[in-house]
């Protein structure tokens, strides 16, 4: 009986993982397709679609835009998230609960509504549409997450470290940059990389706020509407590859940082 239960578990897990992974595996495999359509039979492997991708200036531009928007918005989300987490955790000002709730509210609102709201507002203020607006949109959706992640990394024991530093004569700037930030560095990295990853593949807000300079998801969307070919598979695989690299980087950096600070 126990053996049967055990094998049912493994069969189930395999089926579900198959369900989850199959579309992705076929996506990646058919990006190397030699013929036109990303459909069986597989006549590969061929790099023609990657060549096509990089020859496509629209795609390349969009890729570049996504990277820039991603990095900048992630940076600001993380920085603002850190400052507010630090402020709340260490200074405990009055109304901390309300502040925390206020900062987290955007999480409860669909990206559709946030994007739409920003679009209307930009329209009223005659700000038009631009990548700058897209960046702002990404900042506001990632700020609550960065804040929550970093706040969860701030423990009361670390405050003792900061008190010790002040006791030894350090000013606030040094306390923050030399003590507080290094201690929560894993959290900062996690927040940054998560924000980047979420911004990188974000469609709806970018759709509302960008005009001719678009991000990668929008470019892919436009191209897909005119016809399906394996070039989008290549784009998807590329997005995948970049995400894998980013998250592996996160993991490696995190390990390195944790080794150095070796929290008890």
């Amino acid at each position: 009986m126990k053996l049967l239960r055990g094998s049912i578990a493994w069969i189930y897990a395999l089926v579900v993982f198959g369900f989850i992974l199959l579309p992705v595996v076929s996506l990646v495999v058919f990006s190397f397709q030699a013929t036109n359509l990303p459909l069986p039979p597989f006549a590969g492997p061929s790099l023609r679609w990657y060549e096509a991708l990089f020859a496509d200036s629209g795609m390349v531009e969009a890729l570049r835009n996504s990277l820039i928007v991603g990095v900048i918005s992630a940076f600001f989300s993380t920085m603002l998230g850190f400052l507010s987490a630090y402020g709340l955790a260490r200074y405990r000002p009055a109304g901390a609960q309300a502040t925390r709730a206020a900062l987290m509210t955007p999480l409860g609102v669909s990206y559709l509504v946030i994007g739409f709201g920003l679009a209307i507002t930009a329209n009223e203020l005659a700000l038009g549409r631009s990548l700058v607006l897209v960046t702002l949109g990404h900042i506001i959706i990632n700020l609550p997450l960065a804040f929550a992640i970093i706040l969860s990394q701030m423990r009361d024991e670390d405050e003792t470290l900061e008190k010790a530093a002040r006791d030894l004569g350090a000013n606030e700037w040094i306390v923050i940059t030399r003590i507080a930030i290094p201690v929560v560095l894993p959290g900062l990295l996690a927040a940054f990389l998560l924000s980047f990853t979420l911004s990188w593949d974000e469609f709806i807000i970018a759709f509302f706020l960008a005009d001719f300079d678009v991000t990668l998801p929008i470019e892919i969307w436009s191209q897909l509407r005119t016809g399906l070919d394996a070039k989008t598979n290549a784009a998807g695989t590329l997005v995948f590859a970049i995400s894998v690299v980013t998250l592996t980087l996160a993991y490696v950096l995190n390990r390195a940082v944790q080794q150095r600070s070796r929290r008890p």
Binding site: Y12, A13, Y91, P93, L112, G117, T197, D201, V239
Partner: protein, 283 residues
């Protein structure tokens, strides 16, 4: 001392609050305001009126879209939870501890591909000559290819594919928080494995189920891409209706009213489930 603490605390938190005010609160106010305007002819009439809300209350297309959204998302939450729970359980209790993080990662990894591309891939899988039809035929379950793409089935399938990840993670977290000695104590007192599951494990994992379901609900109900691409716009859901007002008809006011409906639905669901929405360990 308290005064200094307060002031510096506010200085640090200030920027984030300001950003939230400008980039979130203000736009939300704009949405509310805009919903009270009217679009007539080709221009926007800014006199405040509740016309849009009257429209919402009476227009059957809108009602249908709302109903469709709730049904599709309801099905999604139901099936995602159903599929995720056993998976989370297996990962939490059958996979050796040191491999658990890696296996969880494996559930998440597929979603690092482009959302847009992935949605289109489903169209291929579900096409008349796609993988699914071919397998169904080879297993002798159907005689001729059936229409799978551009249906509600396709939308729910694609949604479940994505949201299984969310619930698996939250349910896993909940399961792992159960102290190891609770099942031991239950067994010690005579509980069978079934009882250990139903009386101890399951009740204590409800927070994970609830958080996962809530997140799935919020994310799915506002999702435009999947129903649009995979469902083919054959069945209109609320997000698509909203986008139609924006892109085709330029009726921002009505769209704004719809956006508020979305917000209200999410808020209502949150209010109902707030009690259970924490993954923290109950002491």
């Amino acid at each position: 001392m308290t005064i200094r603490r307060n002031w510096q605390g506010w200085a640090l938190v200030g920027p984030a609050l300001l950003v939230t005010l400008v980039l979130f609160a203000a736009p939300m106010v704009m949405v509310i305001l805009t919903s009270l305007h009217r679009r007539t002819g080709g221009t926007t009439d800014r006199t405040l009126s509740l016309d849009n809300y009257v429209r919402l209350a009476t227009d059957s297309t809108i009602h249908q879209a709302l109903l469709n959204s709730l049904e599709v998302v309801g099905l999604t939450v139901f099936f995602s939870t159903l599929v995720s729970y056993p998976l989370a359980y297996i990962i939490a209790f059958r996979v050796p501890v040191k491999w658990q993080a890696l296996v969880l990662l494996l559930t998440v990894v597929p979603f690092w591909t482009s959302y847009v591309v992935r949605s289109y891939s489903w169209l291929l899988v579900l096409a008349k000559n796609g993988v699914m039809n071919q397998s169904l035929q080879s297993f002798g379950l159907i005689g001729e290819p059936i229409t799978l793409a551009n249906t509600r089935f396709a939308t729910v399938l694609a949604f479940v594919h994505f949201f299984v990840m969310v619930s698996t993670l939250t349910i896993y977290a909940s399961l792992r928080q159960i102290p190891n000695n609770l099942p031991l104590a239950a067994r010690d007192l005579g509980a069978s494995p079934w009882h250990v599951f139903t009386r101890i494990t399951l009740p204590l994992s409800i927070p994970g189920v609830t958080v996962g379901a809530f997140l799935t609900f919020v994310l799915a109900i506002g999702d435009y891409i999947t129903p649009q691409i995979v469902g083919g716009g054959n069945e209109l859901l609320l997000p698509q209706l909203l986008m139609l007002q924006v892109s085709r008809r330029g009726d921002f006011p009505l769209a704004a009213a719809m956006a508020l409906v979305l917000l209200v639905i999410v808020a209502a669901v949150y209010a109902v489930s707030a009690k259970n929405l924490t993954l923290e360990r109950r002491r």
